[in-house]
Amino acid sequence: MNPKPDQLAERPNASQLFLIFARIGLTSFGGGLSGWMLREFVQRRRLMSEEDFLNGLSIAQALPGVNVTNMAIWIGYKLAGRSGAIACWLGIVVPAAFIIVLIGSLFASLKGFALTHVALGGAAAVAIGLSLAMGLTAARRVPRRAFPLAIMVATFIAVAFLKWPLLWTVLGAGSLSVTVAYYFES
């Protein structure tokens, strides 16, 4: 099923990449985009090999940053170098940024109605479920060993209860955890 490199379709230019990612950005709600991107770039348009795509995906997830925007830059760079990376990044961020400001202003203009805040409260309660479900899914994928579990619990306590600045918590817990994973688990 995987296309060989010589069967790959002609590469799109920067403005085409911008449009592809603008569409992805504007039609994506609440995550779960990597499957969609795989279909778009590997299976349907055959712009890159599955291996290239999956390499990019694991890097996009390991590095800080939103997976989708990281992936956009990775794909853009692979397909069209620097201008491709910039085009994909702008495509995924800018149109959606306009929409969110628009929606925000819409709600702000409805602020006079008490019900707006009530409705947003209900939406937020459910939206927190999205966050918690993602947290529980991530927690389930943590190896069932003492050290990774301790790192997870310590991070939770430091951020939720002690309210330590996140940057230092992440640098501390992250570098310790990555060092252990590098030397003892691979």
Partner: protein, 178 residues
């Protein structure tokens, strides 16, 4: 650039680098900085913005754009967007650039495995902080837990679920319950 957007930029630049495993993980710190440290928004306004960001399409970290817009208008939105996306964009660009020459498989695996428990702890902490800021008492908290269960156990459409949450709350409000 005026001083307020500049302060917004300085808040979001370091936040960018802690968005491990997606923007969710930085929300607890965003809340701390915006509500507790700088008093740019109330906890209720922050939760409203969070809900709007969830209703809107695109990357969830655009919450930063919306917050910047609400605090300081156009330049605030620009500053927050550049701050939250800029550093990580440069980072992944650099990695993509050197990837072809440097085979980083072992380091990459260690990064991915080592950061997994940190990201899980941060996302759970973010959920905890948000639940604390939620208005509507135990009904709202119960709804958050119910939606968590629905999302994990069924293939329900998140947008539909958020819409019904809003509707449900309006109904309960009319009955005088929240």
């Amino acid at each position: 650039m005026p001083t307020l957007p500049l302060s917004i930029l300085m808040v979001f630049l370091p936040l960018s680098l802690v968005t491990i495993g997606g923007g969710q993980s930085a929300i607890a710190e965003m809340h701390r900085q915006i509500v507790d440290v700088h008093h740019w928004m109330s906890a209720a306004q922050f939760v409203d913005a969070f809900a709007i960001a969830r209703l809107a399409p695109g990357p969830g970290s655009l919450l930063a754009t919306l917050i910047g817009w609400q605090i300081a208008g156009f330049w605030g939105a620009i500053a927050a967007t550049v701050g939250i996306f800029g550093p990580t964009a440069l980072l992944i660009y650099g990695v993509a650039h050197i990837w072809s020459r440097y085979e980083g498989a072992r380091l990459l695996r260690a990064l991915e495995r080592g950061l997994r428990p940190v990201a899980a702890g941060m996302i759970l902490a973010a959920s905890y902080v948000l639940i604390q800021s939620l208005e509507g008492g135990w009904i709202a908290r119960g709804m958050a837990l119910a939606s968590t269960a629905l999302l994990m156990l069924t293939p329900v459409n998140p947008l539909l679920l958020i819409g019904s949450g809003a509707g449900c709350f309006v109904g309960l409000h009319m009955l005088g319950l929240v």
